[in-house]
């Protein structure tokens, strides 16, 4: 049961590619693998903490004011993320821009709080938060990888997130002319459209 709660967010109920929620950060923060992983990890942190705290106090929240309470809890963790990233990862913070404080209106987080964490035990809520977060990270990471590889012909090593100086992994030779469109806005829509279609095709063949 716990395993099911944990793994269903990966593919079968993937918040992005199946449920189509939380699309804004997916599009805006996937121009490079580094940005995508940074956004994914920040979202996992907030989702995990908010699911944890909401499940912890779910019995004492009056049902009439539960949404404002959830929002205050979520925005607390978003502010923590915002200030921490600003202090320790300034380059990442600069390229994610306004989307760091906007994690507060990511539908996945409020959605999991309302639909799952406020109704289930602490252990289940923790696994649900981690599972859904990993599903989000996988989706944004895949899109970031595709867009950066096709758009620039190289991958900036995402180790910059962990204070190791970045270096580029060149994927294509001299003759490759990168499709710049992929790192511009149209490429984001195109990539996610084809990913969803591909996932549907896979789902049609085998039950994922």
């Amino acid at each position: 049961m716990k395993e099911k709660v944990f793994t269903r967010g990966f593919i079968r109920e993937n918040p992005v590619l199946i449920l189509m929620i939380g699309l804004c950060p997916i599009m805006a923060c996937s121009t490079s693998l580094r940005d995508a992983l940074g956004m994914g990890l920040a979202t996992i942190f907030v989702l995990f903490c908010s699911n944890f705290s909401i499940a912890l106090i779910r019995r004492i929240i009056p049902p009439q004011i539960r949404i404002p309470v959830f929002i205050v809890i979520i925005s607390t963790f978003v502010t923590i993320t915002d200030y921490t990233m600003h202090a320790y990862l300034p380059a990442l913070y600069k390229s994610l821009g306004v989307f760091v404080p906007l994690i507060v209106v990511n539908c996945i987080i409020l959605g999991r709080a309302e639909a799952f964490a406020s109704k289930n035990s602490l252990i289940k809520a923790i696994f649900d938060g981690l599972g859904m977060g990993i599903g989000f990270l996988a989706a944004i990471g895949a899109i970031g990888l595709i867009r950066e590889a096709l758009g620039t012909g190289a991958i900036t090593n995402p180790t910059a997130l962990f204070f190791i100086p970045p270096f580029k992994i060149v994927l294509a030779g001299e003759g490759f002319s990168p499709a710049v469109m992929m790192i511009l806005p149209p490429g984001a829509f195109l990539t996610i459209g084809f990913l969803i279609a591909g996932l549907r095709r896979l789902k049609g063949k085998t039950v994922v």
Binding site: G22, I71, T79, V104, V105, P185, P186, F189, G193
Partner: protein, 201 residues
């Protein structure tokens, strides 16, 4: 941004940095309520309305309560920005819903059901944040948020009319509905990319 004149701010918000296609804000609503023209128009009107109100309220709050240089208390409360903005927007949406229902039943019919959805529309919060980050003054904030709302409405209505046509087209089974909608949005974004660099913006 703050040194631009009002006309350029409006043009930039509507076309060049369109909230939906260039800044990727409010996409859940963009794909969720664009199945037909009428509902998308209702959503667009509700977004314009809330966006202007929320940005002005946010501007006032930032300048008179949070920012230490201009606030009434001279205390640095900027760390409360995210929490306070989202709460103000949520309560503003509730208030507006009540006011509209009381004074204009016709308008309530047109956009009432979309108002609660707007609280978690990231375009609203983002435009309120951006007008602070661009250090716009009060009048510029008014123009910027209104123009951003117009840009949202224009794009969502065009997109809904395209989707109405596409729903009749022979699309391959795996691409039906969402995937083809994303590809349509990609082509629209490509068109809007053509506005980049207009007037050097």
């Amino acid at each position: 941004m703050s040194e631009l004149n009002i006309f350029l701010i409006a043009l930039s918000a509507i076309l060049i940095h369109n909230v939906l296609l260039m800044r990727f804000l409010g996409l859940c609503a963009f794909f969720g309520v664009s199945k037909d023209i009428k509902t998308s128009l209702g959503m667009g009107l509700a977004v314009i309305f809330v966006m202007v109100m929320a940005s002005l309220a946010g501007w006032l709050m930032h300048h008179f309560l949070l920012n230490p240089e201009t606030s009434l208390f001279k205390i640095d409360l900027t760390f409360l920005r995210t929490a306070s903005f989202i709460l103000v927007i949520a309560s503003l949406v509730q208030l507006e819903e009540m006011v509209i229902r009381r004074f204009s039943p016709a308008l309530y019919q047109a956009m009432g059901i979309y108002l609660p959805l707007i609280t978690t529309n990231c375009a609203i919060l983002a435009v309120a944040f951006l007008s602070i980050d661009f250090s716009l003054n009060f009048a510029q904030t008014l123009v910027y948020s209104f123009a951003a709302g117009i840009g949202f409405t224009m794009v969502i209505v065009i997109f809904a009319s395209l989707r109405e046509k596409i729903s009749l087209a022979p699309v391959p089974e795996v691409f039906k509905d969402y995937p083809v909608a994303f590809i349509t949005a990609s082509l629209m974004a490509l068109i809007f990319l053509g506005f980049q660099g207009l007037f050097g913006l």
